[in-house]
């Protein structure tokens, strides 16, 4: 799905993840399977959301794309960005891509900004690091971005330090930093966690405006945010994709019992919780991973691990009910 735009877009997916597996060996025999055989393709201009609860592997996936996983992570599979194999690149090559072509808006604005560096400099940093603009122009661009983010007095704001701003404003600064080098792909990890309802709505509107001509990979557990910002949703559970499809279709008619449970547990649907808890990533069950919590199990669900089954022309479900 490509948004209408005036300029040429390359054919083929912008980001293509194939068979990605990320494991963290914890003890000699144990290992945590954070991401298990995930395939994901994001076309230019798409806004895709990775939805799931904590521990489902969505953040690990985002970090894997950026090449920012901790040293003890064992990765297998392919990650291609514009047809370059990211996993085959060494660190200097990856550094040239980070910030400039793929940028990440991290969780938790309180910890993601350098407390002793002025905000303007932090926004200008990607431009300086990648030598896109000289110092003074970079600073001007930072001020321009701050204005675009809605700061009333951007020149003055650029001279302040992060602690002088509220949570919502820091989140805007994080978005500005991510956008400053004009990346093509933006990965946003829980951009509105910890923010009040009113501020959250403002930030989401801001992100939506700014992403109009870019590609977005949103990582969140909040269906509402995902529904607002993205046109395709990918639901993850226990390290694998369990459902995928266009937003409006998926929300109107969720197929996988987990997605259905998520929708039912929203405030607007009456808060019906999904019983039980997600399995620990070190100790995954043999059959369907959602089996213990599923309301409508079939005989084979206990033993057989369901494959990802295509339904229609752009939906997929991992459930035996659709075999």
């Amino acid at each position: 799905m490509i948004h209408n735009g005036d300029f040429q877009r390359p054919a083929g997916p912008l980001l293509s993840v194939t068979g990605l597996r990320v494991r963290f060996p914890t003890r000699p025999e144990e290992c945590v399977r954070a991401v298990d055989r995930v395939d994901l393709a994001i076309a230019c201009g798409e806004h895709v959301a990775l939805i799931g609860e904590s521990g489902c592997g969505k953040t690990v996936l985002g970090l894997a794309v950026m090449g920012l996983l901790p040293v003890n992570a064992k990765t297998r599979g392919e990650i291609r960005f514009r047809d370059c194999d990211l996993r085959a690149m060494d660190e200097p090559a990856l550094q040239r891509i980070r910030g400039k072509e793929i940028a990440m808006v991290m969780q938790n604005s309180a910890n993601s900004l350098n407390p002793v560096m002025k905000v303007g400099r932090q926004i200008a940093e990607p431009l300086r690091v990648h030598n896109i603009l000289p110092a003074t122009e970079a600073q001007d661009e930072a001020v321009r971005l701050l204005a675009a983010m809605g700061f009333a007095d951007p020149a003055q704001a650029a001279e302040r330090y992060p602690h002088e701003f509220s949570g919502g404003m820091r989140e805007r600064i994080l978005v500005a930093i991510a956008l400053s080098a004009r990346p093509d792909l933006v990965i946003a990890d829980e951009p509105t966690s910890g923010l009040d309802a009113v501020v959250k709505a403002q930030i989401l509107r801001l992100i939506k405006d700014q992403m109009a001509e870019r590609t977005l990979l949103l990582i969140t557990h909040d269906l509402g945010t995902a529904g607002y910002l993205c046109n395709r949703l990918v639901v993850m559970y226990a390290g694998e994709i369990v459902e995928e499809g266009p937003t409006d279709e998926l929300l109107a008619m969720p197929r996988h019992p987990y997605t259905q449970g998520l929708l039912a547990s929203l405030p607007s649907s009456g808060f019906h919780p999904i019983p039980g808890m997600s399995p620990s990533a070190a100790d995954l069950p043999a059959g369907c991973r959602f089996f213990p919590r599923c309301c409508c199990v079939k005989e084979q669900c206990r033993q057989n691990h369901p494959p990802l089954i295509p339904i229609g022309h752009n939906r997929k479900v991992r459930c035996h009910r659709y075999d």
Partner: protein, 264 residues
């Protein structure tokens, strides 16, 4: 059950303590027995301070707080300690709500032991009963908080709060740090406990949707003032204060996102 009259809380800061910031200003509220009052507002609005004032975990600078006929602002420290078991609080951040060096069982048993409600041996049984009430597996008694998920820690915090069988429970943003699916679990648990134990609740949150579902009455706070207070239905349908109207609009907007086609 609990009644605040013209309560204010100021903090003095700055050189020689001359600057005064008010966290709560001239607040008057009543929570009848058996009901749930939801307190909404953005961060810094004073709602958390209001909750703590009701338990007298912080001292008010002015005004009176009456709990079941007892004026908390006038009683001695010892008498206040005696009242404490009847009013408890569950905090927002499950990561620090429990002592990281105590097992779950020890944390939940602590109130029982402090007040001698149970000897060391009986305490173990009581803890298992409480675990069952909040939906925690009995094996978790010997685990430490860092080994568990946020949802489990909040359940343990709830177990600890109800251990002394309080009449009044303050919930300070209990689900803000949790995922949506876990949030639903914790909130339905709170409703079950409320019915089972006949609790009076104060539910503090910045999320109007959540508050609306849990509470009979809603109070809206902004900048330390209570700007509006009334029955949930009335507040949602006809908000009279502009700030309330903005909150209601934001809540409706996020509900509407589900029916809306993105990109439009």
């Amino acid at each position: 059950m609990i009644e605040l009259t013209r309560v204010s809380k100021y903090y003095s800061t700055g050189f020689l303590r001359r600057t005064r910031t008010s966290a709560v200003e001239d607040l008057s509220l009543t929570i009848p027995r058996g009901t749930c009052l939801g307190l909404v507002g953005e961060s810094g609005s004073g709602k958390s301070t209001a909750g703590r004032l009701m338990l007298r975990l912080t001292d008010p600078s002015a005004g009176s707080i009456v709990f079941d006929g007892i004026d908390l602002t006038r009683i001695s420290k010892a008498a206040l300690r005696k009242v404490r078991p009847r009013m408890q609080i569950v905090f927002q951040d499950p990561d620090t709500a429990l002592d990281p060096r105590m097992t779950l069982g020890a944390s939940v048993a602590e109130p029982l032991l402090v007040w001698n409600r149970a000897g060391r041996r009986d305490a173990g049984d009581r803890v298992l009963d409480l675990f069952e009430m909040v939906g925690l597996q009995p094996e978790l008694v010997d685990r430490f908080p860092f080994e568990l998920s946020g949802g489990q820690r909040q359940r343990a915090a709830l177990a600890r709060a109800i251990a002394l069988e309080p009449d009044f429970l303050v919930l300070d943003e209990p689900t803000s740090a949790l995922d949506l699916s876990v949030q639903a679990q914790i909130l339905s648990l709170v409703q079950v406990l409320r019915a089972r134990l006949g609790l009076t609740l104060l539910f503090i949150s910045h999320d109007l949707q959540v508050v609306a579902l849990m509470s009979d009455t809603v109070g809206v706070m902004q900048g330390g003032y209570l700007v509006e207070c009334g029955k949930t239905r009335e507040i949602l349908d006809q908000p009279s204060h502009p700030y309330t109207a903005r909150l209601v609009a934001a809540a409706r907007e996020s509900e509407a996102w589900f029916g809306k086609a993105p990109g439009s």
